[in-house]
C-alpha cells in the first residue's frame, strides 16, 4: 500500500447506522489526504475479534481506548480527525484521551454530549425507530438515503444479511443504550478539548435536538460551526461538495494558523 508522504493523514470515524466507506466527500478528500476509515469491533464483520472482549464495552470511550492502542496512525505525525454521528462521539473521546495526536477535529452532528434538559430528547431513538421514520428524520431528501444498515431494510435482505444487521444493532446497544447515545463523563469534560475544531451539521437533521451541534460548538473552546443547507444527519453523503468546501476552508485556516 503506497504511502504518499507529502499528504497529511485524515482519519474518518464513521457513524454506526449508516456506513459508506466510499462516500463522495471522502472521495475528494482522498485526493488531498491519506484517508483512513477504521473498522469498529462489532460492525462490518468484525465480530470474532479480541476474543469477543469488546462485548463488555459500554461506551464510545471504550472504543476510543481500543483505537488508541491498536491503530498505527496513533504514532507519528498528528492526524486530522473527522467523526460523524456516533463516530463524532468516538472522536470526542479520543480528543480527551490523546489530544496530542490531533492536528484538528471535525465533528459532523456528533452524538456523545447531553446538552439539553433531562426531559428533552437530545437524540432520537435510532434503536427503536423503523427504517422509514429514521430516513425521514435523518435525510433532507429521503430519496438520497443510502448505506442505511437496519434489519429488514431493504425488504429483500437475505437471512444472513439480516443476522449481520441485528448483530450490529446489538453492538450499538452495547455502546450506547444507557445513558442513550451519550456519556455523562464526556459531557462534564468536553469543554476542555483544546483542539482546532469544526462542527458541521445539516440544516434538516432531525435525529438530533434542534440546535444541538451549534450549542456543542459553543461549548468547545476552539470550535467554529458550519451548517450545510439541504442536508440531514449525513451531510457528507447528501451534500458532498458543500461538505468538502466547508472542510477545505477549515483546513486552510488550520494550516494558516
Amino acid at each position: 500500500m503506497p504511502i504518499t508522504t507529502q499528504r497529511d493523514r485524515l482519519v474518518f470515524f464513521h457513524d454506526v447506522d449508516v456506513i459508506d466507506r466510499a462516500p463522495g466527500a471522502l472521495g475528494r478528500l482522498a485526493e488531498e489526504f491519506e484517508v483512513t476509515v477504521p473498522a469498529y469491533p462489532g460492525f462490518e464483520g468484525q465480530f470474532d475479534v479480541l476474543d469477543r472482549g469488546w462485548e463488555g464495552w459500554e461506551s464510545a470511550a471504550d472504543l476510543a481506548h481500543h483505537i488508541r492502542r491498536s491503530e498505527r496512525w496513533m504514532s507519528g505525525d498528528p492526524v486530522h480527525l473527522v467523526g460523524a454521528g456516533f463516530g463524532g462521539w468516538v472522536a470526542l473521546e479520543l480528543a480527551l484521551l490523546a489530544p496530542e495526536r490531533l492536528a484538528s477535529l471535525v465533528l459532523v452532528a456528533p452524538y456523545g454530549v447531553k446538552l439539553f434538559s433531562r426531559m428533552d430528547r437530545d437524540f432520537e431513538d435510532v434503536l427503536l425507530l423503523d427504517a422509514d421514520e429514521q430516513i425521514t428524520l435523518g435525510w433532507a431528501d429521503p430519496d438520497r438515503c443510502h448505506g442505511l444498515r437496519m434489519p429488514g431494510y431493504p425488504a429483500d435482505l437475505s437471512d444472513e444479511e439480516n443476522e449481520v444487521a441485528f448483530a450490529e444493532r446489538e453492538t450499538i446497544a452495547r455502546y450506547a443504550w444507557k445513558p442513550f447515545m451519550h456519556s455523562r463523563q464526556l459531557t462534564r469534560w468536553v469543554h476542555t478539548i483544546d483542539v482546532p475544531t469544526l462542527v458541521v451539521a445539516g440544516d434538516a437533521d432531525r435525529l438530533l435536538h434542534a440546535g444541538h451541534s451549534r450549542l456543542l460548538a459553543e461549548r468547545l473552546p476552539r470550535a467554529t460551526y458550519v451548517e450545510i443547507p439541504d442536508a440531514g444527519h449525513y451531510p457528507y453523503l447528501e451534500q458532498p461538495e458543500l461538505f468538502h468546501d466547508a472542510l477545505g476552508d477549515f483546513y486552510a485556516q488550520v494550516k494558516g494558523a
Binding site: 427503536l128 425507530l129 423503523d130 434489519p151 429488514g152 443476522e163 441485528f166 443504550w177
Partner: protein, 403 residues
C-alpha cells in the same frame, strides 16, 4: 396435575382508535386512556376471582408487565402480596419477576422472602428475563439482558443461602453488605420457576433443578423443550426430572356446551394480540441472538399469535370446550409432555367476572377430579417422555411459544 388460576388483570376500556394510533396496548400507550375509578373496580373484581379460585382448590399465579393496558399487575411481588391477603390455601406462583428489568436484585430477594413468610411458605418464585418490549419501560440494556438475569439470580440465591453479611462486586450489580431479613420461610429457598425456550436458558434451568414453564407452546415444541431439559438435568448428575419440574400455560374456558365455551372463550384471544409494534420494540437489539431475531422477524418464533381460534383449540393451546373435552386435552398434554403444573389463563380482555366464575366452578366440579391424579405416579406411567423411552435427537430450536 396441579392447576393454577391466572389473570393478567387487563384494562379493557382503551378505545380501539387509541390502540391503533399507538401500535397496541403495551409500552408506548399514554396513560391518559386510564380511568382510575374503573381501574379500582377492576382490581377488586380480579382479586375477588383469585379468592374464589383459592376456595375452589386452585393455586394462583400472578405476573407483571409495565406501561401496559393488557396487564395491570405492575409488580409480581406486589400482586402476590394482595393475593396472599385474600387467600388461604393455594400456592402463589410469582411468574415472574423480570430480573434484568429490576435494578435491585437484593430487593427482590427481600420481597420474595417477605411473601414466603407472610404466606407461611405458599410461594413458588418465578424468575424471568422480561418480555422483549419491556426493555423500553425499564430502559435496561437488552444486549445485557441474559447476563443480568444470570447474575441477579446468583446474587439472590446467595442472599438466601448465606448466613453472614457478604460482599458482591459483580459485572452488573454491586453491594458491599448483603444479609436479607427475613430469610425465606421455605428453607433454604422457595421452589424456583423459570419460563423460556432458548436452549441456553432451558439447559441452565435444568442444571439447577428448577421448574421450567412453557407459555402457550405447541405440544410438540413443549415436549421438545422438556426433553432438552431432562437430558441437561441428567447430564448434570441430577435425578430424572418428574412432572413437578415442568409447567405449561394455556388459555382456558369451559362451559356446559362446546358452542357456549367457544363463544365466550373467543375473548381469550385478547391475550395474544401483539399490536403493531416497531421492529425495535418487538425485537430489541441484542435481546435475542441474531439467528433468533431473524426467526422472530420472519414470524417463526411466536407463531402461536397467528393461529386461528379453532387451531388453538385443536392444538390444546386454548383449552376451550366442555369439561370432558378439556379434561381429555389436559390428559393428552400430560401424556405428550410429562408436565405436572398447568396454569390456566381463565380471563382476558372483556371476559366478564360471571363468565370467569362459571368456568372456574365447572373446572372445579368436573375437570379437576378427572386430571388431579395425572402425574402423581409418573414412574408407573407408560409414557414416551421418560428418559429411558426417549431415543430421538432433540431439536434445539423451540419455536412456537410466546416467549
Amino acid at each position: 396435575m396441579h392447576l393454577y388460576h391466572f389473570s393478567e388483570m387487563p384494562y379493557p376500556y382503551v378505545p380501539p382508535e387509541a390502540e391503533e394510533a399507538h401500535g397496541g396496548l403495551k409500552y408506548f400507550l399514554p396513560n391518559r386512556y386510564y380511568d382510575p375509578v374503573r381501574g379500582h373496580d377492576l382490581y377488586q373484581r380480579y382479586l375477588d376471582e383469585y379468592e374464589l379460585a383459592d376456595e375452589l382448590g386452585f393455586n394462583l399465579m400472578v405476573n407483571e408487565h409495565h406501561q401496559s393496558a393488557a396487564t395491570l399487575h405492575v409488580s409480581a411481588t406486589l400482586s402476590a402480596a394482595a393475593v396472599i391477603s385474600r387467600t388461604r390455601h393455594g400456592r402463589v406462583l410469582v411468574l415472574g419477576t423480570p430480573l434484568p428489568h429490576r435494578s435491585n436484585p437484593v430487593r427482590v430477594a427481600e420481597e420474595i422472602a417477605f411473601l414466603d413468610n407472610l404466606s407461611g411458605g405458599r410461594i413458588n418464585c418465578g424468575f424471568v428475563r422480561g418480555v422483549q418490549g419491556e426493555t423500553y419501560p425499564s430502559n435496561e440494556n437488552p444486549a445485557r439482558n441474559m447476563d443480568m438475569f444470570f447474575e441477579a439470580h446468583d446474587l439472590i440465591r446467595e442472599a438466601w443461602l448465606q448466613r453472614d453479611i457478604f460482599n458482591w462486586e459483580g459485572e452488573h450489580y454491586q453491594y458491599r453488605y448483603v444479609s436479607v431479613w427475613p430469610r425465606p420461610y421455605q428453607q433454604p429457598m422457595p421452589p424456583i420457576w423459570v419460563s423460556g425456550t432458548t436452549q441456553r436458558l432451558v439447559e441452565w434451568t435444568a442444571e439447577h433443578g428448577y421448574t421450567l414453564c412453557n407459555l402457550l407452546g405447541a405440544y410438540d415444541d413443549t415436549a421438545n423443550s422438556f426433553r432438552l431439559y431432562r437430558r441437561a438435568a441428567m447430564a448434570a448428575g441430577l435425578a430424572e426430572p418428574g412432572p413437578d419440574n415442568f409447567a405449561y400455560l394455556s388459555l382456558c374456558h369451559v362451559a356446559e356446551t362446546e358452542e357456549k365455551a367457544r363463544e365466550i372463550g373467543r375473548k381469550l384471544l385478547f391475550y395474544l394480540k401483539a399490536g403493531k409494534q416497531r421492529l425495535g420494540a418487538a425485537i430489541p437489539p441484542g435481546y435475542s441472538s441474531p439467528a433468533a431475531a431473524v426467526a422472530a422477524m420472519r414470524g417463526t418464533l411466536g407463531a402461536v399469535r397467528k393461529h386461528s381460534f379453532e387451531e388453538l383449540i385443536e392444538e390444546g393451546i386454548a383449552l376451550v370446550g366442555t369439561p370432558d373435552q378439556v379434561a381429555a386435552k389436559i390428559t393428552a398434554l400430560y401424556e405428550r409432555t410429562g408436565v405436572g403444573h398447568l396454569i390456566l389463563m381463565n380471563q382476558a380482555g372483556e371476559m366478564t367476572s360471571n363468565e370467569v366464575r362459571d368456568s372456574l366452578l365447572l373446572l372445579h366440579k368436573e375437570v379437576m377430579p378427572q386430571v388431579a391424579d395425572l402425574g402423581r405416579d409418573w414412574k408407573e406411567d407408560d409414557t414416551s417422555w421418560r428418559v429411558d423411552n426417549d431415543d430421538q435427537p432433540v431439536t434445539p430450536v423451540l419455536a412456537s411459544a410466546v416467549s
